[in-house]
């Protein structure tokens, strides 16, 4: 304990001294002869301690203000990612996977700061969990450079290309970075084998995560005066970008899964592609003689699976022009044993169309308060006007709908503070209620599935919400 108490200030003092020394001897950047790609150069990860000097990112200042980052980050769950893989629960997961093709180094790809290329992360940095460089990029090249006077003169693309500092201020790039772990990639794949062994399901929605995180930064529109690129409709923009980029990552992952179908760590079909609760529910009759699924009816053969309920459900709410990126993919994924080749082809088509959507998004003007209000009302009305037998198909779709309303409402409050009232927040809590996972079957347990959910209950809650919140939207 003593060592830790003394260790940190000591380290901080060393870095402060070093920083001052470098500042005094400020030099123009030594221009690299060629711009090496970050991958080829494989810069080293330096560790959180390198950022947490008192004079740098560990100042005692209000959360969110520049210099206070480390103080906020110590509360960030990313910092406990490695602690998780030290736990008894984690050991139990490994035990269940014993004898399978899965190895422990797979876990460290997301439960520690990602080590670029093939250079292994030094053991002493594992305890940082997902440290600063997990998102900002390995700091070997930019650590010293980024507090030089000339640094601010570089554009973000150059900082990335030449120094490996990731452009997190670009929302789409930022979400891409989140999706690496929170959606997954070919070599960071939380598939159904791992979920069955005990890993939680991945269900990423950017704005929800954005607001749950103890944020160590302020968005441009939250700064006084507003920073460059500030947009008051931030939440609706971030929600839309988040949806498209998350969907892209999910479709890329699906293409990779199909590409490696039936390899030892790539089972096919991959159950994690489908709505969990289509299968994972107790067999029960909701009204004494029918389950809600039977009451609603089935699109194809009774008992078929819904593909991509989490990633494709908001596509309608995005309401961009152009063909539905997922239509063909959804058709291909419907049979229980989808053919990997055609799935990959359909995934490529979906990715092209999603790229088109992202371009449209980037070029669109920020929305006014009235426009956000219109979109919020439209989202409510769209839900209520759908055929009750078709919408919401399942918990995933209802939850994504709820999250879209929450993002639009947050943006509305930012644009027009009078629109956001405590009473309205209560209405959101009511709307959320049918989506809750209840307390578990035994003391000190909880359900990880929406045991009591029925689409009907969400529709009824949405009707109440519409009457109170957005009169006139109910059909």
């Amino acid at each position: 304990v003593k060592l830790r108490v003394f260790g940190l200030p000591l380290l901080a003092a060393v870095y402060l001294a070093a920083a001052v020394a470098v500042r005094l001897g400020a030099q123009p950047p030594a221009a690299p002869r060629h711009a090496p790609s970050p991958e080829a150069a494989a810069p080293r990860v330096v560790g959180v301690a390198g950022c947490a000097a008192a004079g740098c990112h560990n100042d005692q200042r209000p959360a969110g203000s520049p210099g206070s980052e480390y103080g906020a980050w110590v509360h960030d769950p990313h910092g406990r990612a490695y602690e998780t893989v030290q736990s008894a629960k984690y050991r139990a997961i490994l035990d269940r996977l014993a004898g399978s093709a899965y190895a422990e180094d797979l876990c460290l790809k997301c439960h520690a700061t990602p080590a670029p290329g093939s250079s292994p992360l030094p053991r002493e940095l594992l305890a940082d969990g997902v440290g600063c460089e997990g998102c900002h990029g390995p700091a070997e090249k930019w650590r010293t450079a980024h507090y030089q006077g000339w640094w601010k003169g570089l554009d973000s693309e150059r900082k990335w290309r030449e120094y490996g500092l990731y452009p997190t201020k670009d929302l789409a790039r930022r979400v891409e970075q989140c999706a690496e772990c929170h959606v997954g990639t070919a070599d960071k794949d939380v598939n159904h084998d791992l979920i069955a062994a005990g890993h939680p399901r991945l269900a990423f929605e950017y704005t929800a995560y954005h607001h749950l995180l103890p944020r160590h930064w302020r968005e441009p529109h939250e700064q006084t005066p507003p920073g460059p690129g500030a947009r008051r409709d931030f939440d609706t923009f971030a929600w839309a970008v988040g949806q498209v980029v998350t969907a892209k990552a999910a479709v890329e992952l699906l293409a990779a899964r199909a590409g490696q179908a039936n390899q030892p760590t790539h089972p096919w079909p991959e159950f994690a592609e489908y709505g969990c609760y289509a299968c994972h529910h107790d067999l029960k009759l909701d009204d004494g003689h029918q389950s809600w699924r039977q009451k609603r009816g089935f699109a194809g053969t009774p008992g078929e699976w819904p593909w991509g309920t989490w990633v494709r459900s908001a596509s309608e709410a995005l309401a961009w022009s152009g063909p539905d990126p997922f239509a063909d993919l959804e058709k291909r994924m419907r049979p229980p044993m989808p053919p990997p080749g055609p799935v990959r082809a359909a995934a490529r088509q979906a990715l092209d169309r999603l790229d088109g959507w992202l371009k449209q998004l980037r070029s669109a003007q920020p929305l006014s308060a009235a426009e956000v209000r219109d979109r919020l009302n439209a989202a409510v009305a769209r839900g209520l006007s759908r055929d009750p037998a078709q919408w919401p198909r399942d918990w995933d779709e209802a939850t994504q709908h709820y999250l879209s309303l929450a993002a639009l409402y947050t943006a509305l409050g930012d644009l027009d503070p009078s629109a956001a009232t405590p009473q309205r927040r209560v209405l959101f809590a009511e709307l959320r209620r049918p989506l809750a996972y209840p307390a578990g079957p035994a003391p000190r347990t909880r359900f990880d599935s929406p045991v009591d959910f029925t689409p009907e209950q969400y529709r009824q809650a949405l009707q109440r919400f519409a009457r109170e919140f957005a009169p006139g939207t109910a059909p």
Partner: protein, 536 residues
């Protein structure tokens, strides 16, 4: 002619007359005849049948009249079989169920007429053309193959009566060996536990060769899950329309060899215990045969129907912490495993068989071969699990031989079990072994637990060698009952008529399965095992 044989002849003549007259008198168009199907839809061999239907049986098997009693026919059979069946037996409603709301809901969701579809009629009616040729199973080809007036009636189990109806009126029929009755007349031997279990399992577990299989689409559309088959419990709660040979004077008069050869009865033993043991092996065998059949039909790589997988593997709410992952995984977690039907009772039976009295395992003895077979179970099962976890939904090419191997293995087990005695001491020991397996199996699946519990209870209720113990009864009462927090029922349904439709008992059944916690079941049987031991 002695007065006795004269009476027999008179009776036979009277029965014959009744059998011929009654169908004609019933409603003009021959209630016993299959409902007319479109011309050309009914195969010729079915069109030719004249002695099909419950009505032929009811003529004599309605009640033990004074005359029958005087003839001492009631020393041999009860003669109220038809009445018991008509008033109490849910099989009477098998076809009607298709017309009820649940059946109609399934038809809507599946887009078929469930009252005409051969895959529904396979178990909800009698496939006459198949029953005409016992031993060569085949699915129904068209609606016209089926007879459904009386639901799943006598001939579904006993065999189409066309050829045996007349000869069986004669007392000499009692001396015809069962093998001949089947081969020459098409009557099945329901006294042989293996052959009875095979018939029950055909619908209650599945029989792919006969087209009897509840697909996942049918379940998703609303077909109730099939409760785990424990043949003796199902027989008792059907309810029984027969008496055990031990309670019938006729069998006391037989010598031991005749009783065994003709009626599969070892004098003095508790036949229900024999049925429990052999039923467990045959039920498993039939599940394996069905799986092997389906897997062989998919050698082209098409996946097996979801219904070939363990329902409970996927269908459960997710909870943490939960008992499920603590059981460990036989293979890579997350790969659906086969539906084998329950195996815990089979394990108990194997243990019972291989722990027989010292010296019983001399070379050539059934105990010795059962010991060897018992030792092979886990290896053979592991091969099946491996074939299923090779990839999600398994590799049918590897599943088929593994399932065939297990089917052959369980057939050998069933034959070995048939050679063992099931006296009072043995049935008491089987009961104790069942309790011990229930006590020592952590994380038992719901169907496994329910099947063990039924076997345990039916031995208590049917075998006089098993003494009632109030502590055991108290523990069973804590586990069972209609209350929502009780995870099991002891009786498949209340004994009083009329039988409750399945749709009405379904919500309770599903609720009980969801509320099941294996640890409390295990602990209850720990106390039961202790109580049984205390009295030894």
């Amino acid at each position: 002619m002695t007065p006795r044989t004269r009476r027999a002849w008179t009776l036979t003549a009277a029965l014959l007359a009744a059998a011929v007259a009654l169908p004609l008198a019933a409603d003009g168009v021959g209630r016993g005849q299959p409902t007319p199907a479109p011309a050309g839809d009914r195969p010729e061999e079915v069109q030719k049948l004249t002695k099909v239907g419950f009505v032929h049986c009811e003529a004599c098997h309605r009640e033990p009249s004074q005359g029958y009693r005087e003839q001492k026919i009631t020393d041999f059979i009860r003669l109220d079989e038809a009445t018991t069946w008509r008033q109490h037996d849910l099989h009477t409603k098998a076809f009607m169920a298709l017309k009820e709301p649940l059946g109609q809901q399934m038809g809507r969701l599946l887009g078929v007429d469930v009252t005409r579809d051969v895959s529904c009629l396979a178990c909800h009616a009698v496939n006459l053309s198949q029953e005409l040729t016992p031993g060569s199973p085949r699915p129904g080809r068209s609606t016209g193959d089926f007879y459904w007036n009386d639901g799943v009636s006598c001939e579904a189990c006993h065999g189409v009566a066309e050829k045996w109806l007349a000869p069986h009126f004669d007392k000499s029929w009692r001396t015809v060996p069962p093998g001949e009755k089947l081969a020459k007349y098409g009557e099945r031997d329901m006294r042989d536990p293996a052959s009875r279990a095979e018939r029950c399992a055909a619908c209650h577990a599945g029989n792919a060769a006969e087209g009897k299989f509840v697909t996942h689409a049918m379940y998703a559309a609303g077909h109730p899950p099939l409760p785990p088959l424990e043949v003796m419990t199902f027989s008792r709660d059907q309810p029984k329309h027969y008496n055990d040979p031990r309670d019938l004077p006729y069998f006391a008069s037989l010598d031991a060899d005749t009783a065994w050869r003709l009626f599969h009865y070892r004098k003095g033993e508790c036949s229900p215990a024999r049925q429990v043991a052999i039923g467990a092996a045959v039920t498993f065998r039939e599940a394996m045969r069905t799986l092997a059949h389906a897997a062989a039909a998919r050698s082209d790589g098409r996946m097996l129907d979801f219904a070939h997988f363990d329902c409970a593997a996927c269908h459960h709410e997710l909870a943490s912490p939960s008992w499920r992952p603590t059981r460990g995984y036989a293979t890579t977690p997350g790969r659906p495993l086969p539906f084998t039907g329950p195996t815990a009772l089979l394990r108990a039976v194997l243990r019972y068989a291989s722990e027989a009295a010292p010296g019983a395992d001399a070379p050539g003895s059934p105990v010795r071969s059962l010991k060897l077979l018992a030792g092979e179970f886990d290896v053979k099962l592991a091969a099946l699990l491996k074939a299923f976890s090779a990839r999600p939904f398994g590799d049918p090419a590897a599943v088929a031989p593994a399932a065939r191997d297990l089917a052959a293995w369980s057939d050998a087990v069933a034959k070995g079990l048939d050679a063992l005695p099931y006296g009072d001491a043995q049935s008491a020991r089987l009961l104790r072994v069942i309790a011990a397996v229930a006590q020592h199996s952590a994380g038992l699946g719901y169907d496994d637990a329910q099947q063990l519990l039924w076997a345990f209870d039916v031995l208590r209720s049917e075998c006089p060698g098993v003494r009632a113990k109030p502590e055991v009864t108290a523990e069973l009462q804590k586990l069972t009952g209609p209350e929502p927090d009780k995870p099991f029922v002891l009786r498949l349904r209340p004994p009083d008529p009329p039988p409750t439709p399945v749709a009405e008992t379904l919500p309770g059944r599903l609720r009980r399965a969801a509320a099941y916690q294996p640890e409390s079941f295990r602990q209850a049987f720990g106390r039961i095992a202790a109580a049984l031991k205390a009295g030894e």
